[in-house]
Amino acid sequence: MTPVAEAVTVERNYLNQGEGILSWLFTLDHKRIAILYLVSVTMFFFLGGLFALLMRLELLTPRAWLFNPGDYNKMFSMHGIIMVWFFLIPSIPTTLGNFFIPMMIGAKDLAFPKLNLLSWYIFMFGGAVTVFALVRGGVDTGWTFYTPLSTTYLNTYVTATATGVFIAGFSSILTGLNFIATIHRMRAPGMTWFRLPMFIWTHYATSLVLVLATPVLAVTLLMMGVERIFHVGIFDPALGGDPVLFQHMFWFYSHPAVYIMVLPGMAVISEIIPTFSRKPLFGYDFVAYASMAIAVIGFLVWGHHMFVAGLSIYSAMAFSFLSYLVAVPSAIKVFNWSATLYKGSISWDTPMLYAIGFLGLFTIGGMTGLFLAALGIDVHVTDTYFVIAHFHYIMVGGTVMAFLGGIHYFWPKITGRLYPEGLARLSALIVFVGFNLTFFPQFVLGYLGMPRRYAAYPTEFQMLNVLSTAGASILGVGYIFPLCYLLWSWKYGKKAGPNPWRGTGLEWTTASPPPRDNFEVSPIVEGPPYDFGRMREELHLG
């Protein structure tokens, strides 16, 4: 090991090949584009987080004390829009996916490097338009842009914000297209479909949803924009339109979008858990099929967002049934991850802490999703904090935990450096505690009937709201810690070596940070993924 590691330090890698800002802005290297995306989505994450913090501050007291109700509407709208379209959707695919899909399948790059760079520029352009709308005065429709509120009644920057989202959608489509083509055609010799790491399978499912759902959002926003700009009726009932059609079309995208957000989280967890349990992923085939099943069934459940919007009882029952059904493949995954842990040789490094956190929180989020799929309970908790808590357990407890876990897991490969382990474990713990303290009280609040999207609330809800705000401030600290020590470690961290976690994937067989072409010699794959047994033998033999 040692001679290799020493040779690596003097070799050129993707980070030092090309100097200056232009070598980054015009790069076609998927690894550098991943870094560009990482910087961008991190900025958007903290921007969206700032809005969340302001909302929680407002909700400290029953009376609106910080903002007037109109400004509060803008806070939650901008929080939702930025977090959904500029953080959660691109978060894992464009950073870790971009970096590791080619490496895990043994390719030099994605299939279309120019499209990859273009997608980042489109994303940044969409982000710039959205931030422009935000700076000019923001938008207060909620992230859902429901008509006719958005098209007829509001005087805020609806069109500009929707344009930003519309533009960013094309970057999603290009990313998904690139991933699908890459996974189909760029695999190294011997890398058959059932030798792919689960990270790849799950990103494949994500990409299918990206390319098939995003255009529908684009066309929905287009029609909304036409109605708003030209004052003609498409969705406005006063002009013969049907606002429920907007909801159908919006959720036809936005429910699958939930899987765009959480499937990549599952991708990361499926890598971390085998590595830190030293065992192959249990039930590999089932986990792969479950990813595809989630992508397919996920397209058929959008109606559960509309149980109180006037669906017929029969279609509501069908959507309810399908919503239960989509929980099955998610449950298969949770059981298989748990079975992977069973009798594993588990080590509690930081990525594993996040993965275990994901398992618990995603399970709670998923189970409360079943409550919401039940027609009777859904009517009771619709538009309450119960719904907020439910999807934050999936989005933050699931995706953000997985994102942080993945960043820590792959950090040594991306930068060639190790982060301070003790501090990282401590902040994983802070994130977990802060998260639960923020969102668990919201389940109770929602069940007791506190509606979402109000700046004021009855005094009896104050205790739980104060707990939630306290949790949010702890969570904020938990997010700032990794930002600081990861940046620090990029320069001052200990050298990582090619394979600090003793992982089995192709990405661990090359130097850290990897060379421009990822591998010195094009790899040939001869066995299944997660082959820890063989790795043990090889180590034993020397």
Binding site: F112, A181, V211, M223, I234, G240
Partner: protein, 219 residues
């Protein structure tokens, strides 16, 4: 135009065949996203067609079937010349390829010319949705919905035609610079796929906007 005659194998690929198949797959994925994009509009059309059948049929009867049918014929011919162009590229006939690409472009331009003539006639007839909209029927707002969807859907299609014209033009330039050969002509094949896709969309648009009210047409 510094590209040499021979095929360029980009560095992420290991074989020309892999490069070609990847590019073709990418185009098909792109076309599937386009189908979903237009699909949303077809869905909206179907919903309102179901809500307001009378107004939609009256709107359709108001279309200029002669111009619409001519345009359909023009586009189908352009698909034919495009297919011949792709065939010429496959056998390495550079002059023929030039000819067929140019013919396809001309037919595309004829289509757009007729389309915008139609738009102008609609404008003269006050069929453009908005405050000035006029329609001789019992329920103008519902006919307005028909025309609104008509303008959005055919407008989006026309936008795709403009993009297609641009692509064809760049193909002609690259062909003149000698970029294509019997071994390497993937961009022409992809341009062809795109062009055929846009044509097929038009066939559906023609069916839903023009044919439906045919029996009410005043010849």
């Amino acid at each position: 135009m510094a590209e040499p005659l021979a095929l360029i194998l980009r560095e992420q690929f290991h074989a020309p065949e892999q490069q070609r198949e990847t590019a073709t797959l990418g185009m098909w994925i792109f076309i599937s996203t386009e189908i979903m994009l237009f699909g949303g509009l077809f869905l909206a059309f179907s919903v309102y067609r179901m809500y307001y059948p009378q107004a939609f049929i009256a709107g359709s009867a108001d279309m200029n079937i002669a111009l619409g049918a001519t345009n359909t014929a023009v586009l189908i011919c352009s698909s034919f010349t495009m297919a011949l162009g792709v065939h010429s590229a496959e056998v390495g006939g550079r002059k023929l390829l030039n000819l067929f690409l140019a013919l396809t472009m001309i037919l595309g331009a004829v289509f757009l010319g007729i389309k915008f003539t139609e738009y102008y006639l609609h404008y003269l007839d006050h069929r453009v949705p908005g405050p000035g909209f006029l329609f001789p029927s019992a329920d103008p707002p519902k006919a307005e919905m028909f025309f609104l969807l008509y303008f959005i859907m055919t407008g989006l299609h026309a936008l795709h035609m403009f993009v297609g014209e641009g692509i064809l033009f760049s193909m002609i330039l690259r062909n003149r610079a000698g970029s294509f050969s019997a071994e390497y002509h993937t961009p022409v094949v992809l341009a062809g796929l795109y062009w055929h896709f846009v044509d097929v969309i038009w066939v559906f648009l023609f069916a839903i906007f023009y044919i439906e009210g045919l029996h009410l047409h005043k010849w």
